[in-house]
């Protein structure tokens, strides 16, 4: 029987997401009449802050955009600026950047799986409630997160807003002893990461298959992190410098974050999109662990994102070990920069998805224009589309409390980082 009641659900403050957002749903005649993921956090204006600053200030400035994924912002920025200056930092820097990024994936994904998403899947209001019944799993999550933080700290001196990254490489190379000690801990954590894949698969039993476009970067011989071209499962395959020809951001009245569309349509970035498009490039033990879950990838069920996140933690551990087992102290941990005028692009894979940067510099390397497109902006239209479909499949005749909880679960499943996404300001100047 169709529910004819009128329902207005308001979630004024979304919990367990980074930043300030709200959800509004209006139901009339058994259908969703209106649905808005409102992002009301004030605009951050980072792109404007960067204008006029020297290129060497950029890595430390963009790290401030996010406390959870600062490495991603630093990596997209240094790649874009090196693209302008024609700098090749060499194989040591390339490998260690990848290791540092592994740390961020481990830290961010562990936090999301255990503290933010798992309580939803298991029906708890918070991780504190969940920890009473699942202490072993929560301890495992905390340990993996700490390990990721220590990996970031190895290169960045601190895990939040690290300061070790510079255009051309790193300010400092860690001592061999430090690296060896961390390798021992990484190796010891491998069974935990493998078990995590199976555990998340046991949680992700709900959800529904939806049609959507997965977008991620892809590299010819490694799982994407710092480099690659942009691909989709609908045939898109472009260099990162052609992003603006295919993707367009637009303003919506209910959000201080821009909505990004691919050829006018919502799309998905993030761990599920990455696994959907790059599972052949995961290390064999990760593919085996994923295969054992019985879940088929590519998957059209967004609730499988938590499994993709776990697979990426396992991958990050193995990848960091692969690279650090060959660690040798370099003579110099960076390449010298000769600034020049130009336009450059960087596109790397933040834990939440593709993070695209574009900079214009002058002859001295001062930033003339900066543009940053974070993953949450790119996912926002997809989240609203998913909410409509998932809530209707869930049943609009459910109680308000059930609809509210389910709606929040759908949003949190994307691990949105609202603080990262709120960075635009439309300014009109009238000169009379």
């Amino acid at each position: 029987m169709t529910d004819r009641r009128e329902v207005n659900i308001r979630v004024p403050v979304l919990a367990r997401v980074e930043g300030e957002g709200a959800l509004e749903i209006d139901i009339a005649d058994g259908r969703i009449a209106d649905l808005k993921l409102r992002i009301y956090e004030p605009p951050r204006l980072f792109e404007k802050f960067l204008e006029g600053r020297a290129y060497h200030e950029v890595p430390d400035m963009v790290a401030r955009i996010c406390g959870i994924c600062p490495v991603a912002y630093q990596m997209s920025a240094v790649h874009a600026l090196e693209n302008i200056f024609g700098t090749d930092p060499g194989p040591w820097v390339r490998a260690m950047r990848r290791v540092m990024y592994c740390g961020e994936w481990m830290e961010s994904h562990s936090l999301h799986i255990h503290l933010l998403a798992a309580p939803d899947f298991l029906g708890y209001r918070s991780v504190i409630e969940m920890a009473h019944d699942h202490p072993v799993e929560v301890r495992r999550g905390l340990a993996l997160q700490a390990l990721g933080n220590d990996l970031i700290r190895l290169f960045g001196a601190r895990s939040v807003h690290p300061v070790g990254v510079r255009v051309g490489g790193f300010h400092h190379a860690p001592a061999l002893q430090e690296v060896q000690a961390l390798c021992q801990r990484l190796r010891a954590a491998l069974p935990q990461a493998e078990a995590l894949v199976a555990w998340t698969a046991s949680l992700a039993t709900g959800g529904n298959a939806q049609q959507f476009t997965s977008v991620a970067t892809r590299h010819r011989n490694e799982y994407p992190m710092n480099e690659g071209h942009i691909v989709s499962d609908r045939g898109l395959d472009i260099g990162i410098d052609r992003y603006e020809q295919h993707f367009a951001e637009h303003q919506v009245a209910h959000s201080t974050a821009l909505h990004s569309l691919l050829h006018g349509q919502p799309y998905l970035v993030g761990p599920l999109a990455r696994v959907n498009l790059n599972q052949d490039l995961l290390h064999p033990p990760v593919r085996t662990a994923l295969g054992a879950t019985g879940i088929q990838f590519p998957s059209a069920n967004l609730f499988h994102s938590i499994v993709a996140r776990a697979a990426e933690i396992y991958y990050a551990l193995l990848e960091a070990l692969r690279l650090l087992d060959q660690y040798a102290l370099p003579q110099v941990p960076f390449s010298e920069i000769v600034p020049r005028r130009g336009v450059g692009y960087g596109c790397t894979e933040a834990p939440r998805g593709m993070l695209w940067h574009r900079y214009e510099t002058d002859d001295q390397g001062l930033i003339r224009v900066a543009r940053i497109v974070p993953p949450t902006s790119q996912n926002q239209a997809r989240i609203e589309q998913d909410l409509r479909r998932s809530l209707e499949a869930f049943g609009l005749d459910r109680s308000d409390a059930d609809l509210r909880f389910f709606g929040e679960t759908v949003i949190r499943n994307y691990d949105p980082c609202i603080s990262c996404a709120t960075h635009f300001l439309r300014l009109t100047v009238r000169r009379l």
Binding site: L111, I128, A146, N149, H161
Partner: protein, 154 residues
């Protein structure tokens, strides 16, 4: 196992970094050097969840964080773990506050035998650093020194 670890929690946003500033001031003050080597340590962290792993091998942990309790800006308050409500507003990121991290630590038996939290009242909506907040650091250091005297056997 170290006898006491002092942890400053914060972020680089405005006065939310007061926990980091306090640890820096404490190190500059030489407070730690008054005790036997490695018996007292100090460090900083960003995400409150990190507190739990940082607290693991210490007998006593002293946490310093920015606080919003309605008191005057610059007020220093001292709490035991049982005096915190999990929704008490210590300024935090990513939906996990210090109070929630402490509650989680209690559930998982990860907290040290002694846990003391120091909150310094800030105005979170103001991005510029407030002199009244920084002026609270000497008050805080005196309070920590008194606590250390009672916990550390020299």
């Amino acid at each position: 196992m170290t006898q006491a670890r002092i942890i400053g929690v914060g972020s680089p946003f405005g006065d939310d970094q007061i926990g980091w500033d306090a640890v820096e001031a404490l190190l500059a003050d030489g407070l730690i050097e008054r005790y036997p080597p490695r018996s007292v340590e100090a460090c900083c962290c960003g995400n409150p969840v990190e507190l739990l792993m940082l607290s693991k091998d210490a007998q006593a942990v002293f946490i310093i964080d920015a606080m919003k309790s309605g008191a005057e800006v610059g007020t220093v308050r001292r709490f035991g773990p049982n005096q915190l409500e999990s929704n008490q507003t210590f300024i935090s990121t990513h939906g996990v506050s210090v109070a929630e991290a402490v509650a989680l630590g209690q559930t998982l038996n990860l907290l040290p035998a002694t846990l003391v939290l120091y909150g310094i009242e800030i105005h979170p909506a103001v991005l510029e650093r407030q002199k009244t907040v920084r002026a609270a650091i000497p008050v805080l250091l005196r309070a920590i020194a008194i606590d250390l005297e009672s916990f550390i056997l020299v």
